[in-house]
């Protein structure tokens, strides 16, 4: 695993990765020269190969691998797809210093193998899997392979960054904020004057905080991702926490989905367990809404009854190994069950439009009322 200093230096990172890809290719050639079948040993991406690392507080991948053998006809197609994806990424992305999306990469790989009627890939899931294979083989983020995820979310605060040739001040972004790009690996933080970072799932809440200049009055950074966090937002949170020791507070709905957003930011996700090192922020804290807020802030009449799908998700959440041994979280899940209801952040508006910025958030933060 590379150090952060390395990861953030695009040129070193590129050179390293390019060397790793060349090594992958050379390995295939070397094996071919011995008249053997070339192969890759790829970590297995199933639940059975995932565990929770209690010491480092993150979901990690165990070390079971499966061999993908070119001359095993059950493997030939996948082997060829992964190797071709490596070639396209090397030549058309890294060498040209361009980035692209998974959908575009699918089209870049979708070609007919000469003298056959066989397409290298027919469905995007095949090229997606090839990229995931490469993340595992090369032990790096797909963003560093120049394959970007969905872009969403915006940010404001007393921060100055350098992105390409542009110097961008997050405190001069008006009502919109700076749009967080999908790839934040090469962003340089030039100045960070903030005491903490407040992440919120909802853009409407961000708007309220931005309009009330919450980030200015409380010297913090506010960032939203319009729902589930994107990889870009997760990377920014991790970088601000690691590089500047900023506390990260998470503000989501009091429902299983909101708590899961927190869980993913903090511990990583099962699907991306091999990337927890780069995407998770174990030190982040859950600010709210929590079950105790409901009585305390008079939100009881704004509870929303749980649906079957919420209850099912709640049961799953309760049993996650990183929640089930924690009494604080057991209490939260019990409250949700007792009320048989969830509550939304926007419910605070029933107490007044700026109740959230003038009362709720300052009080919670001053009293350090966080769940961990």
């Amino acid at each position: 695993m590379k150090t952060d200093a390395e990861r953030h230096n695009s040129k070193i990172s590129n050179a390293n990765l390019e060397m790793k890809i060349r090594n992958l290719g050379n390995f295939v050639i070397d094996v071919l020269n011995t008249n053997e079948s070339p192969y890759f040993d790829i970590p297995i991406r199933t639940l059975s190969n995932v565990e929770f690392d209690k010491e480092n507080l993150k979901i990690v991948m165990k070390d079971k691998k499966s061999r993908r053998n070119f001359l095993n006809i059950a493997h030939t197609r996948k082997f060829t797809q992964t190797l071709s994806a490596a070639a396209v990424i090397y030549k058309e992305l890294l060498q040209t210093e361009k980035t692209t999306s998974l959908r575009d990469l699918f089209y870049m790989l979708k070609r007919t193998i000469p003298d056959t009627k066989i397409n290298l890939v027919d469905e995007q899931i095949e090229s997606d899997n090839a990229v995931e294979d490469l993340e595992l083989l090369l032990d790096d983020l797909r963003e560093n392979l120049h394959v970007n995820a969905k872009k969403k979310g915006s940010v404001a605060g007393n921060v100055v960054i350098k992105d390409g040739d542009d110097i961008i001040a997050w405190n001069k972004m008006g009502s919109g904020g700076w749009a967080v790009p999908s790839n934040v690996e090469n962003i340089e933080f030039k100045g960070v004057d903030a005491k903490f970072v407040l992440f919120m799932e909802k853009d409407a809440v961000w708007n309220r905080l931005n309009e009330d200049k919450f980030w200015k009055k409380n010297n913090c950074i506010i960032i939203e991702s319009g729902g589930q966090t994107t990889r870009g937002v997760r990377r920014i949170l991790q970088r601000l926490n690691k590089e500047f020791s900023l506390p990260i507070y998470v503000l989501v709905d009091f429902d299983p989905w909101g708590i899961y957003i927190y869980s993913v930011i903090k511990y990583g996700s099962i699907g991306l367990s091999h990337l927890s090192d780069m995407l998770s922020t174990p030190k982040c804290k859950f600010l709210g809404l929590n079950g105790n807020d409901i009585e305390k802030y008079g939100l009881k009449k704004h509870l929303i009854k749980l649906k079957d799908v919420d209850i099912q998700r709640l049961e799953e959440m309760k049993n996650y190994v990183w929640f089930k041994d924690k009494n604080d979280w057991k209490e939260q899940f019990d409250i949700m069950k007792k009320f048989n209801a969830k509550a939304e952040i926007e419910a605070l508006s029933a107490r007044g439009i700026s109740f959230i910025t003038e009362k709720y958030l300052p009080e919670k933060i001053a009293n350090k009322e966080f769940l961990d």
Copy 2:
């Protein structure tokens, strides 16, 4: 309908609106003083009251109204909700100069009527309808009532704006761009140096164009909305077209959904027909993808078979009055039907990662290959 100059002057706009809301309240009091039942006459929001204005090229609302009478028990609830929404908007939004979301407004209105067990609103659809009633009664955008829609999308180009106290240069936004806020009514354009605006539905395409500095090389503005256009993006497009006579080109997938995005930007939508004046841009042009691009740019092997739901939507689109008399569009729908397939913008990446910025777009724009 207010003039643009008025609409963009927040203070005049606020004062006008506040006066209109006071007039609404005074009218109710005047009627009450005659011992009659107060009422509102509200334009009917059904398809039967919508038509296409061929001269001005937009979907408009006809003038059928229905009377909502307080003492008609079938109307009492809705009348009260609309009046209460007006009061909350007046006192808690306009007078405090704050904005909010529909979801927050729901909670602000969700209270029990004193001495009863009846909630003023039980479901968000009721407060949403009250806001829509007010848009119609006051003849203004809900953004000017300080009720914001979803925020999404980003923009880059040689443009300087003033938003609140911040001066924001859209050409210094790095890889992210400026996040387009939900409410762009009070943004002042301080400098616009661009020959046209290119709107695209997909953030991945925007990333490619931004990375290739397409907006710099072609002196244009690039803007995306990550799918269906938001009201904020539609207002920005209209303002750039009206205030700076900039041509607007729309870049979407060649499928019924992409063409509908174009249709909404150009003519407005049936659901918001009363706002077409403020949200539509009749002069915008469809740049692509179009059916002829498929052969011309070698995308035939990247066609995707239409699903039943696509075919159904295609049939609906063909019959829209603003498409069905146009031979160019008839041809497009016929091509889609003949191929029984759609094509995505990303398919251009099969021709090379920067094919879109170096060949496709410059060629289409130079040859003015637009559909109208």
